[in-house]
């Protein structure tokens, strides 16, 4: 993936990969983040396996969304933002100056808390990223729309209404459309920031089922405040508190036998 992420005139150094650690899709090494004087992420090191679902949990303001957004450089333009440490995807430093952010974001898709379709047709929402890249060939776009909507488990519901406004869809359908839009650029990593928190239980169940299916093809990281959701959908869970990654491990271990008292207090609802 990295070749396409790096600008064409980049040197070979960026392509060198550490074969010894190729098993991990994402590696972060002693990552610190500051917003001005505010130290919001403190020395977080974390390895994430490919084709897995990783959940970030923690109270509001703990740094989990900030950490998630680091992975496709969405914090770059926040005033006072500064990052130390390394973040590697496929063993390439995504903060290397030669990395083109727009290329990174094609490969690291993002789905937000609130469904945010564009005020366009369903079809145009899905192909939006492709059109920005200058791809307008109908056959190509048609194929992308069908593939993406099938992957997002929305095709059967909208295949006869592709020219309908995306805003006419239900909240759950809109969120799956946003997932389809993220999948259209063929990412290998999908970031989800509370993707079901604004949805009803049935739509939530569909999103969770989708996450379970999508991990066959994608590496998924999800921020959630819903402990049961983290338990249901994720293979690994990281608990953040005040910028620290307090505990990180297999979800079944975190939810049955957490090693850290703060983790136990949080997941059992006895925090503070």
């Amino acid at each position: 993936m990295i070749e396409s992420m790096v600008s064409a005139n980049s040197g070979n150094a960026i392509l060198n990969s550490d074969k010894q650690h190729m098993d991990y899709k994402i590696k972060t090494k002693k990552v610190d983040v500051f917003y001005g004087d505010n130290h919001v992420i403190k020395g977080v090191s974390m390895d994430i396996l490919p084709n897995s679902v990783t959940a970030f949990i923690g109270p509001s303001g703990c740094g989990k969304s900030t950490f998630l957004r680091l992975l496709n450089r969405m914090n770059d333009y926040i005033e006072g933002f500064r990052k130390d440490g390394e973040i590697l995807i496929d063993d390439q430093d995504i903060y290397d100056r030669r990395v083109r952010v727009e290329e990174l974001r094609k490969k690291v898709g993002m789905v937000f808390q609130k469904p945010n379709p564009f005020p366009k047709t369903i079809y145009e929402n899905v192909v939006y990223g492709m059109r920005i890249q200058g791809i307008n060939k109908k056959e190509v776009l048609d194929e992308v729309v069908e593939r993406s909507l099938i992957s997002a488990a929305l095709w059967d519901e909208v295949k006869d209404d592709l020219k309908k406004s995306a805003l006419a869809l239900s909240g759950g359908q809109q969120q799956r459309l946003c997932i389809a839009r993220a999948l259209a650029t063929e990412p290998s990593v999908l970031l989800m920031d509370e993707p079901a928190s604004a949805l009803d239980p049935i739509s939530t169940a569909k999103i969770e089922e989708l996450i379970y299916k999508l991990k066959e093809q994608y590496t998924i990281i999800i921020v959630t405040h819903n402990m049961q959701q983290a338990g249901r959908v994720s293979d690994n869970t990281g608990f953040f508190y005040m910028g620290d990654l307090v505990e990180y491990g297999p979800t079944k271990d975190i939810f049955t036998n957490p090693q850290n008292q703060r983790t136990q207090n949080y997941i059992t609802g006895r925090f503070g």
Partner: protein
């Protein structure tokens, strides 16, 4: 205290009550056996329905807590352990009831010689001691005391093994009091089961407090 904390506290109180009732059952069946007290034996049999009702209540409480609170970590382990402790205590009471029925079945005092040869008094003493230790370990969340239960179970196993030899010797001697010793051996077997069940309780106490699985010689121990 959260709603879940309060429910867990009530569940623990119910289990302590279950421990207390079961301990009383084992103690009363010992007295019924030793003194050939048929009234006491009938009381043990009658009490069984209270134990069964409490078992059902505790099961229902656990089911409700799992459904309503989605417990995790130590809360989840406690409720899972409570279900198994509850089952084991109820079966211990079943064994006490079975012993009471053997007392009534014989219809007269057990031969003192047979009681002595089978070490029945020692078997009861150790079994009741195990139930007491398990109860204290549960109340005070004392895993060291829970582990003591395992050592005492070895004593019961040893007496149980000797009982088979004693019975074989009695058969070879062609003794006329066969119902005495056959019922006594059955009582020994039931007390050995009480030991196993109490050991299971100890394992569950350690599971919920330390998150260690000890049963079946699990590698997780």
């Amino acid at each position: 205290m959260t709603h879940l904390d309060s429910s867990i506290h009530q569940l623990k109180e119910s289990l302590i009550e279950m421990h207390r009732l079961v301990r009383m059952q084992v103690s009363k069946c010992r007295d019924a056996y030793a003194r050939f007290d048929t009234d006491l034996a009938r009381e043990v049999i009658s009490n069984e329905k209270h134990i069964n009702a409490l078992e059902l209540k505790i099961d229902r409480d656990c089911e409700n807590m799992l459904a309503l609170f989605n417990p995790v970590a130590v809360d989840l382990r406690f409720i899972l352990a409570a279900l198994k402790i509850n089952t084991n205590l109820e079966r211990t009471s079943d064994n006490a009831e079975g012993i009471a029925r053997y007392v009534l079945d014989l219809g007269k005092p057990f031969s003192e010689e047979i009681q002595k040869d089978y070490e029945v008094e020692e078997m009861f003493r150790v079994a009741i001691g195990m139930v007491d230790d398990a109860t204290e370990a549960f109340i005070h969340e004392d895993t060291a005391l829970a582990r003591k239960v395992f050592q005492k179970d070895d004593l019961l196993d040893a007496i149980n093994r000797k009982a088979t030899q004693t019975t074989l010797r009695y058969i070879a001697e062609n003794r006329p009091d066969s119902l005495h010793y056959l019922n006594t051996m059955s009582i020994i077997r039931k007390l050995e089961r009480v030991g196993d069940q109490t050991k299971n309780v100890g394992e569950e106490i350690i599971f919920y407090i330390e998150a260690k699985v000890l049963k079946h010689g699990s590698p997780n121990q």
